[in-house]
């Protein structure tokens, strides 16, 4: 009898050991996982969307541009201006390491830099095409903070090499399981905060709830900021590879 009781006790202990971790708090995700999830929070692997960009400068009237965009994977994207009329047809293409600009007035396709300003606003071409942060940066989980009223993970992103635009990014991502980005501060090599991105207005769009407003504020140019508002999003559309070629850019496809 005592042997049976001891076997029973051992079994109970093993069972408890197996069950116990599940009944406690789940482990926090690591920095890379948080960053990957945040990278996909607004647009997935592939998407088609329309958005409105508003560029605000002190003492100047606001400039509003509407555009259609397509994204495929991490390094292919196309954006075409649809309004105002005088800018309709202007297009940006990202494919691999190269970015091109098509100017309908000149009927010319020119190569531009990924770090150049997109459309005269505070987003760079690289920001618009949402190159994966995980590809360019080494993330570290640096704690938790409340930012914009949200409980967030704080990530420290260090550039993997000197070719990346910003030497360091401090990135806050919601801890509530949505992994929505909330804010990003971009720093230069010298440690100056050059600009900050605020991500807000989560709402249902394209079949799921996601942040729909991104505001980039310059920390150097007082009062300058740019808003990107997603109007429609379609996840995982069928996209022809030929859409992401300079030839297609010129043909207006």
């Amino acid at each position: 009898m005592p042997r049976a009781a001891s076997r029973l006790r051992r079994s109970a202990l093993v069972a408890f050991a197996l069950v116990a971790p599940a009944s406690g708090r789940a482990a926090e995700p690591d920095a890379a996982t948080i960053l990957r999830r945040a990278d996909r929070a607004v647009l997935g692997e592939s998407a088609a969307y329309t958005l409105r960009m508003t560029v605000l400068r002190p003492n100047k009237p606001e400039r509003i541009v509407e555009m259609k965009g397509w994204k495929k994977g991490e390094d292919q994207g196309l954006v075409r201006y649809t309004a105002p009329a005088k800018e309709r047809g202007t297009a940006y293409l990202r494919s691999g390491e190269n970015t091109w600009l098509f100017l309908p007035s000149a009927e010319k396709v020119v190569r531009v830099g990924a770090k150049q300003n997109f459309g005269g606003g505070d987003f760079s071409n690289a920001d618009i095409f949402r190159l994966s942060l995980i590809k360019d940066y080494d993330p570290t989980l640096a704690g938790q903070e409340t930012v914009e009223g949200q409980d967030c993970y704080r990530l420290e992103l260090k550039a993997r090499d000197r070719q990346v635009a910003y030497d360091r990014v401090v990135y806050w991502v919601r801890r509530d399981g949505t992994f929505y980005p909330v804010r990003a501060d971009y720093y230069t090599l010298s440690g100056k905060n050059l600009k900050s991105l605020l991500v807000s207005q989560p709402k249902p769009l394209g079949g799921r709830t996601r942040p729909t407003l991104m505001t980039m504020e310059s920390r150097v140019d007082e009062g300058a900021h740019t808003r990107l508002e997603f109007l429609t999003i379609q996840d995982d559309p069928r996209l022809d590879e030929r859409l992401f070629s300079p030839g297609a850019l010129e043909r207006g496809e």
């Binding site: 400068r57 002190p58 003492n59 770090k115 000197r162 070719q163 230069t188 010298s190 050059l194 150097v220």
Partner: protein
């Protein structure tokens, strides 16, 4: 005999005073115009060359050029775009090796394009990192109009052109931020404080911001690097330049700074090669001067020929008398040629004096060049013409020579008159 003819020629000049005064007057005006035009052209050449040597290229410069480099004929061609490594060590070597060849100083500097932001204003910035204590020529050319020149060891000071300061509403003590993309591709910035402003007026300096070389090296993430080493000589003549160039090339080959970017090489360039843009302006000015000279000569020459032919016509009987008295044809020719020469010399002297006075006045007062096209041409918003003895001599000798040549045709016409017919001329 020639002296007697000269005395007769001089007397004859006063016989038809109004006609000779008009002909001589036109030549004097032509001489004065040539002297003034030469003064303007020499002033432009002097200013552009001095600017180029003091501020950008030195008499010689060492710069890294891509193998397929092609000059765009713009003022920024002189600046290198690629890193010249170990620039300070190279500069010191050039100085020590080149003393005997007339090298006074070799100075590294770093040029980068970026943006300058102050408050809500921003502008393009041509940022130049210099070693202030080794740039007395640059300081002389870009003299401070407020505040002070760049201090040697203050990595946060910036010396800015008045035009850029006005655009950004900057004064001494105000803050400005620079944002650049480093050659590797990352974005970097520098917060600086204005220590002083300068005025040059040349448009390609109007967006210049001078910071210390160390600050510029940190900004573009190039420790010890530069884009240019400019070499200043004690003698800028062609022969001295050629000798110094050979010496600098040897020093560069021996130092062989590394690493260099792919498909680039170190080049030693003279200021005329590096500053093709400025030399294009100088050549255009000289071409304009030659054309102006041509028109002036043509106008003056026609006037002299006309005056001399009138003189021959009026003095037909006198010429007949001289021939009847035994004066040879060659002496008739010499007489009229000497008249032309005397008229030419007198006009040239008067014109040169007037022209020189105008040039000297403007050389002291300066000629405002406010229009953008003029300040591009003059290399500054004030042009100071230069009076050079050689230019005055050239203008005077040209007019005197023209007058003499213009007298040849009338002189031969006079010499061909037959005495009998000339004496009977009514």
């Amino acid at each position: 005999m020639t002296l007697r003819l000269l005395a007769i020629a001089l007397r004859n000049l006063f016989r038809a005073r109004r006609r000779n005064a008009l002909a001589g007057g036109s030549m004097a005006i032509g001489t004065a115009a040539l002297v003034v035009a030469s003064g303007l052209s020499d002033g432009i050449t002097h200013q552009l060359s001095d600017n180029l040597i003091a501020v950008q290229t030195g008499h010689l410069q060492v710069v890294v050029r891509p193998d397929d480099f092609q000059s765009q004929n713009n003022p920024f061609d002189a600046y290198g775009q690629d890193q010249l490594p170990e620039a300070d060590a190279l500069a010191r070597r050039i100085e020590s090796d080149g003393r005997a060849a007339g090298v006074v100083r070799a100075v590294p500097y770093l040029f980068v394009r970026g943006s300058a932001v102050a408050g809500s204003r921003s502008s393009v910035a041509w940022i130049v990192g210099i070693a202030p204590s080794r740039e007395p020529e640059l300081r002389r050319m870009q003299r401070e109009t407020s505040g002070r020149f760049l201090p040697e060891t203050d990595a946060t000071a910036v010396y800015v052109s008045e035009v850029a300061a006005r655009k950004l509403r900057l004064g001494v003590g105000d803050a400005v931020s620079f944002v650049v993309q480093t050659p590797q591709g990352s974005v970097n910035s520098l917060d600086a404080t204005v220590c002083g402003t300068f005025r040059k007026g040349a448009p390609w300096f109007d967006n210049a911001f001078y910071i210390t070389l160390a600050a510029a090296q940190a900004l573009v993430d190039w420790p010890g690097g530069a884009t240019n080493v400019k070499v200043l000589l004690s003698d800028g003549s062609a022969a001295a330049l050629a000798q110094a160039r050979r010496c600098v090339e040897r020093s560069v080959a021996a130092a062989a700074p590394r690493p260099l970017a792919k498909n680039t090489a170190l080049k030693v360039e003279s200021y005329t090669e590096a500053g093709r843009f400025s030399y294009a302006i100088i050549q255009a000015n000289e071409a304009a001067l030659v054309m102006l000279s041509g028109f002036l000569f043509a106008a003056a020459g026609v006037g002299v020929v006309n005056a001399m032919l009138m003189s021959v016509r009026e003095r037909t009987r006198e010429i007949g008398t001289m021939r009847a008295l035994g004066m040879r044809r060659s002496s008739i020719v010499r007489l009229f040629v000497l008249e032309g020469l005397a008229l030419g010399i007198a006009s040239a002297l008067a014109g040169a004096a007037a022209g020189a006075a105008v040039v000297l006045y403007w050389a002291a007062a300066g000629i405002p060049m406010h229009a953008a096209a003029l300040s591009w041409m003059a290399g500054g918003d004030v042009l100071y013409p230069a009076l050079r003895g050689w230019s005055v001599l050239r203008a005077s000798a040209s007019i005197a020579g023209l007058s003499t040549l213009a007298a040849l045709y009338p002189a031969f016409t006079a010499s061909r008159l037959e005495p009998r017919e000339a004496l009977h001329h009514a």
